[in-house]
């Protein structure tokens, strides 16, 4: 039997991609054999949790349904079961956040030859110890899946494979999916929107060049799929849909809900971030009674001022990537401990002669205690708990401690309406009203680029980031810029019929 082509749903922002995918998953469940798996994959923890939550509203989630990030998927179905067998690592695996590129760069700068050699050696020695940097997961997965037996086994184990945000799939990941498909045992369903492809930073981080939009699998390999385009936009109002269509190189959407006069796209002509934000807040008060009313304050990055202090000044909730569910908390704390100690859980238990429960108890102690700073933590960690901090290269206990502190920040009241996050992390989310602030005229020019050719050649997602941010808004979209508006931008906004206030 020749396997039927996998389904690929190409659908724009707000078309209800994820909702439809969840619906498809629910429909597939009665067919799911008890001894096989249904896997649903996406690219961030937040998105994975959102799928899980939506799924559990419809049905009880059986034990053989996996919902997670692509890394978690590769770990569970490929690396954990097979990496040891196929000599990629020799011992139990430990996954760490380690950027080999950064380490190599610090050491060798632009000395590419030595740098690459060093990277290779470092990686091999890590793998030998069972340490797998996150960035290597898809590469190892690809190495494993080409082995015929593994391909067969994975196909047998997987009955359904759903992939959300398929535009973010890179070549290696695509190859894995393709091989699974070729085993002819798994039903594949993928959904994505090429216009929202903003993952090029992943390549840059690893020192590789990101492919241009026309080269990413969702566009390049469309022939391999059973295509189902969807032009609906159920999220954005008519005005916002018309506005974002200007930037869409892939498809032109149609809004599904009628417009009211107050709707639309506005430009706030202030340059002070706080004034901008307060104007936005004031102007959008009229929407307060909308169901599930929410406001987003978006920008490329919140790492530097004036963005950095905005959340505190306005009391905004930061949308975090961390799971909202509490049942992963302890595992996350243990994970942080393993990173600080530089050993995996099993190795820690062996080294300190403790059992699993005792390790978990240590994690509880760390979780319950408040630390003023890293030094206090270090003292407690080394003296009270008698654990040793790893001295290995690239290990950064202070950073891991920050992770712990971040994890401890308890999201306040649920009924919050004001949220902030970076554009990258806003993907897949929506709010009644959205404010997007550009730091410079240059950034804004990129966002407002309407030339299709130029957009297709966008190397660093700068243009598409604007699209992603704009398309989060349901009823009102406000744009602003921290610099005095340039003539080009002024004209562009006029051309796009954006009202200035």
């Amino acid at each position: 039997m020749k396997a039927e082509k996998p389904t690929l749903v190409i659908a724009g922002a707000g078309s209800g991609k994820t909702t439809n995918m969840v619906k498809k998953i629910v429909e597939s469940l009665p067919e799911l054999e008890p001894y096989r798996f249904l896997a649903a994959i996406t690219y961030t923890n937040a998105a994975a949790n959102s799928i899980k939550e939506r799924l559990s509203q419809h049905t009880k989630i059986p034990a053989n349904v996996f919902v997670g990030t692509i890394d978690a998927f590769f770990n569970k179905f490929l690396i954990l079961p097979y990496a040891t067998l196929h000599d990629i690592t020799q011992v139990d695996k430990l996954f760490i956040e380690l950027n080999i590129e950064t380490i190599a760069k610090e050491k060798f700068g632009t000395d590419f030859k030595n740098k690459n050699g060093y990277k290779k050696n470092l990686l091999n020695s890590l793998l030998k110890k069972g340490v797998i940097p996150f960035s290597q997961i898809s590469e190892i997965a690809e190495k494993l899946i080409v082995i015929k037996e593994i391909q067969e086994l994975v196909g047998k184990r997987l009955q359904f494979l759903f992939v959300d945000e398929f535009q973010d799939t890179n070549i290696q990941e695509f190859k894995v999916f393709d091989k699974i498909h070729k085993a002819e045992k798994t039903k594949l369903y993928k959904v994505g929107d090429a216009e929202q492809y903003i993952m090029s930073f992943r390549f840059n981080l690893e020192g590789n060049k990101a492919p241009l939009l026309p080269k990413i699998p969702i566009i390049q390999h469309q022939k391999k799929f059973n295509l189902l385009p969807n032009l609906d936009n159920n999220r954005c109002s008519h005005q916002i849909t018309t506005f974002i269509n200007n930037f869409n190189t892939q498809l032109q959407q149609e809004a599904r809900f009628s417009t009211v006069e107050k709707n639309g796209v506005f430009f706030i002509s202030h340059t002070d971030l706080l004034t901008i934000s307060n104007t936005f807040k004031e102007k959008t008060e009229i929407w307060k009674d909308e169901p599930d009313f929410k406001r987003f304050y978006l920008a490329y990055s919140f790492k530097s001022e004036p963005f950095k202090s905005l959340p505190n000044q306005l009391g905004l909730i930061q949308i975090s990537n961390e799971s909202k569910k509490t049942h992963h908390l302890l595992s996350e704390v243990i994970h942080i401990i393993t990173k600080i100690v530089g050993l995996n859980s099993k190795q820690i238990c062996e080294k300190y002669n403790i059992n699993t429960i005792q390790l978990r108890t240590l994690a509880i102690k760390i979780w319950k205690k408040d630390f003023v700073d890293f030094n206090e933590f270090k003292t407690y960690f080394e003296q009270d708990l008698a654990l040793h901090i790893s001295t290995e290269e690239g290990s950064d206990a202070e950073k891991f401690f920050d992770d712990l502190q971040n994890l401890k920040i308890i999201p306040t009241i649920q009924q919050q309406t004001e949220y902030t996050t970076t554009i990258h992390k806003s993907k897949g989310l929506e709010a009644t009203c959205v404010l997007v602030v550009a730091k410079t005229n240059n950034e804004l020019t990129h966002w407002l680029e309407t030339d299709k050719e130029k957009r297709l050649k966008d190397k660093n997602d700068t243009k598409r980031l604007g699209f992603v941010a704009f398309s989060r808004a349901k009823t009102a979209l406000y744009i602003a810029c921290l610099e005095e508006l340039s003539k080009t931008n002024k004209n562009k906004l006029m051309e796009l019929k954006v009202a200035t206030i």
Binding site: P30, T59, K60, H327, L329, I357, T361, K368, I410
Partner: protein, 617 residues
Amino acid sequence: MYIYKLKIQNYRNFSSLELELKPFTLIIGENNIGKTNLLNAIGLIFSQEITIFKKRFLEIDDLNYDIVKSFKEKVANTSISNPNEIELPIVKIEVFIKDFTDEQAAIVADWCINRELTEAKIVYEFSPQVSFRKSEWIQKQRERTNLDWQSVDFPIDAYEYTIYGGDDTSNRCDMYFLRMLKMEFLDALRDAKKELVANSDSRLLYKILNRKELSNYDKIKDILGNLTKELKEDNQNLKDIKEDVNKLLDKVSLADANTLNEIDFDFTSPETSEILKKLSLTYGSNPISVERNGLGRNNLLYISLLLSQIIEEEEMKAEQKIRDFTAFRFIAIEEPEAHLHPNLQNHLAENIEEIGSGKKHLQLILTSHSSHITSKLSLANTLVLFKEGNNIKSHYILNGLDKEEDNESINYLAKYLDATKSTMFFSRKLILVEGIAEQLLMPKFFEKVTGKTLEKENCTVINVNGVAFEHFLKVIKNGFFVKCVVFTDSDADKQTKNRAPELKTEYDSNKILVKITDKTTFEKDLIESNKTVTKVLGKNKNILLDILEKTKQKTRTNQSIEKYREGLNSDIDIDDFFTEIKKYKSEFAFNLLDKMNEDLSKINVPTYIENGLIFLI
């Protein structure tokens, strides 16, 4: 840690129940209210180590009857065409726990419901598998000829159970951790005598002996080994028998290359577990086996044997097999009073609350029907289960009372209950009275006014022995009791004349009615209602006079009563008559009761009491 909240849905007699538990809780309630079912529900989540193991897979009878019936009716009702309108019943038991030690937190962390990891929830759910095709199943059921709800099947085979933590059904509880939380359930039908003999794997005594480090029994094994030597080699009797048999064997049977034509004696297999099965308990200074003990004594032995093994906290060691580790035990004892004499019950009750106190690895739940037990235990920990319509509800006796402000009332009640062993919390309707006279007569008054007995109406008369009604009314007004009537004297002739009207203003409501005498006291109202004197053959006839005669038989000559009777020209004068009985109120009441037992119609119930009782029904 302890279970602080329990929710039960569609399990046995509970369609929906939510209640709070404390580290020590006494549950009381009428029969069939579901005390055992409640404890069994918890047993679906926590596994048992020592006492009887509960199956987690339910049978059709374990599902709430009403919900199953309503489901079947919908299936049989073909006018419901959309299968989505027919939902399969789901059994759900939710257990909320908190107050963890660090170690306990480490075990339950994955099931926590708050980010501080201080509260967790474990859910048992018995529901249809996702692969169950409901529409097809319903259609098939509807193909029957003569479709009615009773002929509809129930797809119990399509059901499965899941145990998950928190609110996410996909977060299955890891059994490795769940096993560390245990429940021990001493149910009311326990056969203490059987359990105290270790003759099989399933017996309590055997399980306890077997839990200990087995290598410590090695010496016993050695000694038994020596015994075998004694048997085989040294005992003349056995040796003789062996030789005789072997000789004969040679004559009747042929040895071949593979078998030796010889017999030998062996002592029972020296396996530790087999040795343990030979053990049984004896009790007393003149040791007698438990077989000869009374049921009550064995019940106590049973409880202490179990508790003694589990009250001490276990310490975890790395090298230990942690799969056997127990971090928490929920202990449920049904009717600890079983077969016990009231004095023993008192003694047990006085001590049992102490056993678990301050121990974070223990939670103790008792159910009881004994007022000897209930009156000894702290009121704050007493939970009543009761029926309201078709629903079962729960109520802590002191709910709504302020620990500080109402401290006096709480203390008073505790002492009162202890002294009187009152059954007030086993009833739903109360009649509060001032003294013994009213207490004695009330059952008959009740019968006369309502035509029913107090017991049938689940109603209790409480003699407050004075006027301390407020202490009771504070508890009564906040939830559990359906109705309460207070009968009190107006005392209009005394300094305290405002007391009764004030009580009435403060507490009268749709649940509580304070009824005050028309005259100054109960007796006067009683006389008022029965004062009519009739002339029969020239003689003054009145029931009260007859009773007065009987009451004063010993103290006065019959002549003086006769005189009093003769002297009456019209109805009895209330004050005169009251003076006659003032010092003999309770005796008078006894005699009145006798009369009522003979013939209810002879005595009229005082109006204020009649009205009060009508309110109660």
